[in-house]
């Protein structure tokens, strides 16, 4: 599997964010997107996720399921957690598992993998920022998608959480997955780098 972009140009609100951006990543690789604030890291992830439309250029995923779009084969882990405070931890996760569908695994096991199995019945309103992030990560485990698009995946996670994240990302890569992660810090994994704009 191979994700590639050729001459991608992004325009938001009538202002050009970046242009003629080329990138490539293969199965089992992490593409670490780096750049100063406002350089367009999140915009690139949203372009790949199909949530924004490129003003020029094309993004392609070769070797995936030809019946599905890139978005349908991807997980998007954004700044916002997509969690409902009124629902419990278990309900939040099982909703996304049912809705996203495809190849799914057990919710209890996914929660155990991110260390939230003790909080299944707790309303998501009572979770801390780090626990919310862990619950979002559980979604990536409960539903199998080959491409993970992660925006600042380390944000709000404690040291143990960052180790856990690196472990989960490693397992995903070992199964032939592909990760695009926008980050400032270290991911704890070998990564192919993509720089957007000039670095400070």
């Amino acid at each position: 599997m191979r994700l590639s972009g050729r001459g991608v140009r992004c325009v938001r609100g009538g202002r050009e964010v970046f242009s003629s951006l080329d990138f490539e990543a293969r199965a089992g690789e992490v593409l670490a997107v780096r750049g100063r604030n406002g350089a367009g890291k999140t915009s690139l992830l949203r372009l790949i996720a199909g949530l924004l439309i490129p003003a020029a250029g094309a993004i392609a995923l070769d070797g995936g399921d030809t019946e599905l779009t890139i978005a349908e084969q991807a997980h998007y882990l954004g700044h916002r957690d997509a969690l409902k405070p009124a629902l419990s931890v278990g309900e939040n996760l099982s909703f996304w598992r049912e809705f996203l569908g495809g190849e799914v695994s057990d919710t209890a096991e996914s929660l155990r993998a991110v260390g939230l199995d003790h909080a299944v019945h707790l309303p998501a309103a009572y979770l801390s920022a780090g626990q919310r992030r862990r619950l979002s990560l559980a979604r990536l485990l409960a539903v199998r998608r080959p491409l993970w698009l992660m925006d600042e995946p380390n944000a709000a996670l404690d040291t143990a959480g960052q180790g856990l994240l690196a472990g989960l990302m490693g397992e995903h890569l070992a199964r032939g997955g592909l990760i695009v992660a926008a980050t400032h810090g270290s991911l704890g994994l070998d990564a192919r780098e993509l720089r957007i704009g000039s670095l400070p």
């Binding site: 949203r46 949530l51 954004g78 996304w96 049912e98 996203l100 495809g102």
Partner: protein, 222 residues
């Protein structure tokens, strides 16, 4: 369980729990109708003549009140991005959200109508006629209102705009809803024609609404 059933179940659950919007609509409906006899005065004949119109107006405003959060809440917490990326077509997901909204916020209005009819001096026949027209007409309010709710996501802070956009669209529903209820109460008029048009409005909007809302949401995801 299919993706759409999961979405409907989730939305109903959220609406019925503390902080959800379902009860706000019914309470608003209740306050409008309860206050009306105090404003109009103790003229029983006038009340029963205005009854169907008051009930319809109350239901329309109550459904408008709860509609603005239909997509905005999902947009704010990022759920809408994931719903748009899912394997379920966005049009169907929009339709499912509208169905859930109607079940949680529209159906309770219909159920509350018989109790409120008593306050407006409506007899059993008139009350059941109004309840029947509300049952047939409130889906139209939800599905047309959904278009406005989707536009409110596209136009940031468009909550105020929702009322301006949706109210003109709901005027036909109001006209035929009240016409059908009054026809049932005063026999010389025909009940069938306005009621059939009311049903048609609901059916058309249930087809057009999801497509319009999905098209608007796709523009709004940035």
């Amino acid at each position: 369980m299919s993706a759409l059933a999961a979405l409907i179940l989730r939305d109903i659950r959220i609406a019925l729990r503390a902080g959800g919007g379902a009860l706000i609509g019914v309470l608003f409906f209740l306050s409008v109708v309860v206050l009306m006899p105090f404003a109009v005065g103790p003229d029983l004949q006038l009340l029963s003549r205005l009854g169907p119109a008051i009930l319809w107006l109350g239901a329309l405003l109550a459904s408008l009140l709860t509609l603005d959060r239909l997509f905005l809440a999902d947009h704010e917490d990022g759920s809408l991005d994931l719903i748009a990326m899912g394997r379920t077509p966005l049009e169907l997901a929009c339709g499912a959200k509208a169905v859930a909204h109607w079940l949680a916020a529209g159906l309770p209005l219909v159920i509350a109508t018989p109790a409120l009819g008593l306050l407006l001096n409506l007899d059993a026949l008139s009350t059941s006629a109004v309840a029947l027209t509300l049952l047939a007409g409130t889906p139209a309010l939800t599905f047309t209102g959904m278009i406005g709710a989707a536009l409110a996501v596209t136009l940031h802070r468009g909550g105020l705009l929702l009322a301006v956009l949706v109210v003109p669209l709901s005027i036909p529903v109001l006209i035929f809803g009240v016409a059908a209820s009054e026809a049932a109460i005063s026999p010389p008029h025909s009940f069938g024609a306005p009621f059939a048009i009311l049903c048609a409005l609901s059916l058309v909007s249930s087809v057009v609404g999801p497509f319009a809302a999905a098209a608007s949401l796709r523009q709004g995801l940035d």
